[in-house]
Assembly symmetry: C2
DNA sequence: CCGCAAGGTCGAAACGTTTCGATAGGAGTA
DNA sequence: TACTCCTATCGAAACGTTTCGACCTTGCGG
């Protein structure tokens, strides 16, 4: 691999002139510049990124750390990040954030290989985030809010609470009466907020939100299926279920089918996220759409701003919206039916 | 950020001793080593990865370049790569391979930021691959085969031809007679091979494979829908369609529904890839499963071997298998029906 | 008591850039 | 002619490591 020194010798100039020719073209005479460029082309010279990064003390690279890479859910997010990163000339690399693998997160964040990070992984603790983060490595966090904020740990979130509220309102206007909630793991802030919003809607409508059963599952399809089974095994028969994410809603759908309960005729179902699958299950899933692309863009913007020293910007909260599909009935159950079957 | 020099001073030893303490512990006296470690902990010292990489002349990082990141399809692949990379102590970073973006591929591959790459992106030309690749940057290619091979451009593929054959055999044993093919873009080797295998099955069964209509689409859901419409608009009514990937098969499913053709009763449908969605559409899609996880592992293995100087290994071809779901009938259409409707 | 090997430590060079300050030459001005 | 001021170029230092060869102790055997 040709180095700047090779080019310098071949072009009969000093190393610094070659570097200048590339980085500050105006400072070297036209003739010499052309000669250098020609020689460089000849030798297939490419500046060595690592050496450059060492010298200039930053990498122009930012990392996106994800819990897993499945789903267009994340794909959209990354597209947003990239589109925005391009505008600042930053390179985006994606990595699965596996806390304890030697080759993973640590190497990227802690060895100065990136100038910033966007993290979406509940498994990385707030503590380690705070420890990693600093003026030379701001971190945008996409899945939690209050607990982590500081000058260099910046939350960007969707309005989970508002989304939960939208779900609640919608079911209420449809006239459902007997609700059930399938939430995520207890430590998921997102899940808590969605639940909170949902209950707020119920409360505002003077419904007995305290008596609505809340079952928690794993945020996965199987988790949702299992949680729903636990719910139904109590004998309770809700006429509408709000699942804290689409994966669980889809799991719920399977369990409902297994129990012979028709969706949406006997039980309405609403999810959260609007993953691609939601459109394809039958019936298609009514859900709350999260603006993943916009979240990605906003995250990258905040990161970029912070990297340029703009501190103390107001937190970003993007709104969600309701997507009505077939898993909720246009004509709701009549009010007043008996919620408990004779199980 | 503390440097090795800071640690050295604080521990009253030379810089080299500190480095030794970390990298060749046996070469420094136990007492000093402990002292150094203590001081390093105190100062929160982390070696600077970039400086290290520059000195040792490699990065222990490999890049996975993907056309896009959607789908558990790629997620599985990456999991395979990572599991294998861990065993060699390599860090994996993923990037969308967007040929002409300044911050993308070029920076990663051409500026010496990675020691190897795994590429799955039909848009990167064989030429640029050959140009990038070399002893210091072997590249494993996952989506093409003959055209690119060299010592440092190594193909790892699924047996697309065999998969196409499996699809063909299966439809034949079910007794279908009037086939149609929805292929991907003309320049996709994968698609060609799948078609070739499919036709081989037909030929072996003495069926008129030359007369089977072949429509090409975009490898996307919409592409499949559109291609299917073009097919049906000719008036031809196949009783079985082989789509060269699942996305297109799902698109086809939609068009078939629009034309009032029931799947699988009036038209059987088989796809390729076994993406997650395949299980959820209705009817669930019969398809050819590609072993993405294994492909990822195999790719990483080959890469690692090549990086260690093992050249000329035999090409890797992993086999596919048939996954039977609802889009093909258990009881096939009777032979001899009229394939052309009165359109 | 001397010489030598082994163990422990160190200084310096190297990796390939960028950039600061200096220098040389030439043009313009007085 | 002598001075200043540009412009084009250069040399050297710096970024933070790793590693090679050298050096200095010690302890031991002869």
């Amino acid at each position: 691999m040709a180095t700047v020194r090779d080019v310098a010798e071949a072009a009969k100039v000093s190393v610094s002139t070659v570097s200048l020719a590339f980085n500050q073209p105006s400072r070297v005479a036209e003739a010499t510049r052309l000669r250098i460029l020609a020689v460089a082309g000849e030798l297939q010279y490419r500046p060595h990124g690592i050496a450059r990064d060492l010298r200039i003390r930053h990498t122009n690279t930012i990392a996106v750390l994800l819990h897993n890479l499945s789903g267009p859910f994340y794909s959209e997010l990354i597209r947003g990040v990239e589109d925005e990163a391009d505008r600042s000339g930053l390179t985006t690399i994606v990595s699965r954030a596996t806390p304890n693998r030697p080759g993973g997160t640590i190497r990227l964040l802690h060895e100065g290989r990136v100038d910033g990070a966007i993290v979406l992984d509940p498994l990385i603790s707030a503590d380690s985030l705070r420890q990693y983060a600093g003026p030379r490595l701001p971190i945008v966090v996409l899945d939690r809010t209050i607990s982590v904020a500081s000058d260099y740990v910046i939350p960007v979130v969707a309005d989970h609470e508002g989304g939960g509220y939208q779900a609640g309102r919608f079911l209420i206007t449809l006239g459902y009466q007997h609700y059930a909630l399938i939430t995520g793991p207890a430590d998921s802030t997102d899940s808590q907020l969605r639940q909170k919003g949902f209950f707020r809607a119920l409360r505002e409508a003077n419904l007995q939100w305290q008596q609505v059963p809340v079952i928690s599952g794993l945020f996965t399809e199987d988790g949702g299926a299992e949680a729903t089974a636990r719910l139904l095994d109590t004998g309770y028969r809700p006429d509408a279920i709000f699942a804290a994410n689409d994966e669980m809603a889809i799991g719920a759908m399977q369990t409902l089918a297994r129990y012979g309960l028709a969706v949406p005729d006997e039980v309405a179902l609403i999810g959260f996220d609007d993953i691609r699958l939601a459109r394809y299950v039958s019936p298609p899933l009514t859900t709350i759409h999260q603006p993943m692309y916009d979240l990605g863009r906003a995250a990258m913007q905040r990161l970029s701003d912070t990297m340029q020293g703009k501190l103390g910007l107001p937190p970003v909260v993007l709104s969600t919206h309701l997507v009505i599909r077939g898993s909720t009935a246009a004509s709701p159950t009549k009010a007043g039916e008996v919620p408990y079957a004779g199980s």
